[in-house]
Symmetry: C2
Subunit: 313 residues, 2 copies
Amino acid sequence: MSYCFGVDVGGTTVKLGLFQTDGQLLEKWEIKTRTENGGEAILPDIADSICSKMKEHGLEKEQVLGIGMGIPAPVTGEGIVKNTANLGWGYKEVKRELEELTGIRVVPGNDANVAALGEMWMGGGKGCRDMIMVTLGTGVGGGVITDGECVVGSHGAGGEIGHIRVNYEETEACGCGNKGCLEQYASATGIARLARRRLVKDEEPSILRQEAVDAITAKSVFDAVKEGDKVAIQIAEEFGNYLGNALVNLAAVCDPEVVVIGGGVSKAGKILLDYIEKPFRERAFFANKETRFVLAELANDAGIYGAVKLLLS
Amino acid sequence: MSYCFGVDVGGTTVKLGLFQTDGQLLEKWEIKTRTENGGEAILPDIADSICSKMKEHGLEKEQVLGIGMGIPAPVTGEGIVKNTANLGWGYKEVKRELEELTGIRVVPGNDANVAALGEMWMGGGKGCRDMIMVTLGTGVGGGVITDGECVVGSHGAGGEIGHIRVNYEETEACGCGNKGCLEQYASATGIARLARRRLVKDEEPSILRQEAVDAITAKSVFDAVKEGDKVAIQIAEEFGNYLGNALVNLAAVCDPEVVVIGGGVSKAGKILLDYIEKPFRERAFFANKETRFVLAELANDAGIYGAVKLLLS
């Protein structure tokens, strides 16, 4: 039996998994991401952790096929990161450095793309080769998979679904500097923003008014939706329109079999899909009408699974 | 030396090319597309034409690597067409049938995707592996290439750029049944429609008023733009905004190195690119700002070149 490691580098923790090459997860654990001093300790920490784990299991280098890796930044085909928002790294030859530290083959990729691969391999998109993954967290991330492979793009910046522009009338700026990005309406913070905007518009009674306006979260909105709260339903519809319309356009170009919705917001469950699917079905190009919508299944493990899939493909 | 054939099936004519496998086009010719009786003669006609050409050049089957083929319909990975708008075919196992008729390997694909491959191989996108091709003709077609391969999609309907929705206020329907598709503003007929709408809005003088409103074409609009006609420039700006904005969103997802603009409308030349690039540069996600815009170079030969590229890749 051969083994491999899946590594998911986040701004706070690095998640690691020891896998058999048939995809069975044997053990998973976490280490802290030490971002100080330009993140210089991150790769050595990962190398140490992997080497200890190999020793613990009595694994020789020859038994380890490689290390797959998800990184929160664009990653070039050569395994190079040009810059990161929250690891401290500037230019970093991730593949070369970690290979030198471990003596094991390393295949790094963008974390959102890698998570999408994980969901395709072992999660909500299992068995599909054409898939769009949308991660609704603090921001909106995504990964587009066509014929089994991630759309990486010429700068490693493919799949930036959150920065599709969906509203040309927007006056507030997105974190990226543009206005009207999907992320401003469909992320956890975006849904909270829609809620605040809706609540100040009039005095219509709503469960949401029991909270301070600034305390309202995506979770409180969908909890209120489940109670049948009219105002919350309007907010969910607005969210669903923006995301559903963006997916109509994406589907026209990518023709996916399935759309997988993940991230913290997706904990709202199946009801979330209803609000996205309705506008999608109404407006999709005829060839895409049958696209399935499912919830992500791997939660925080999508990254380590996908890292292994990236390595193996 | 090995040889291969590139075949581009259109609603009126079938274009054929005899190539060396290094991409050199040795000879090209056309035959009529006989669409009567469910298009039953189309594949036999192609087979006959290829066999005659082989005889003419004294080529044996062993010297012919295969036949690549572009078809104006979605084509599945198995080389099956489910339906066509203008060939007369319903369900047709194109690959199997033409292989049986010729005894030569056949690789069919969608014609717009195939033309994009041609431009990447030998035309405006030469040397690139991440490319978006937009064909501005009677309709708006397209092909998206990521890491050297076409986005085919789960139903063979990938790359339908013309049916990205760019205007949620539109009241007239597109040919596909939806409202506000890019095709309604950026195709030759779409540009003529924008011109008609603009001209009835007020009485501002314009060269375009010398023609009957129904006789105005995309060509007359861009000819007037070149004369500095203010009204025509406004129409070109509106066209460019719709197409540029659609490409901003596509680029966020596909991160292309180059956008290739082809089709009849692109005969307007470099000035056309200016109207598309300006809104693109203003609004693109930061990672995509440097995307290059070029005109297609292969004109009507893109299909036969791309068919060969599809076969060889």
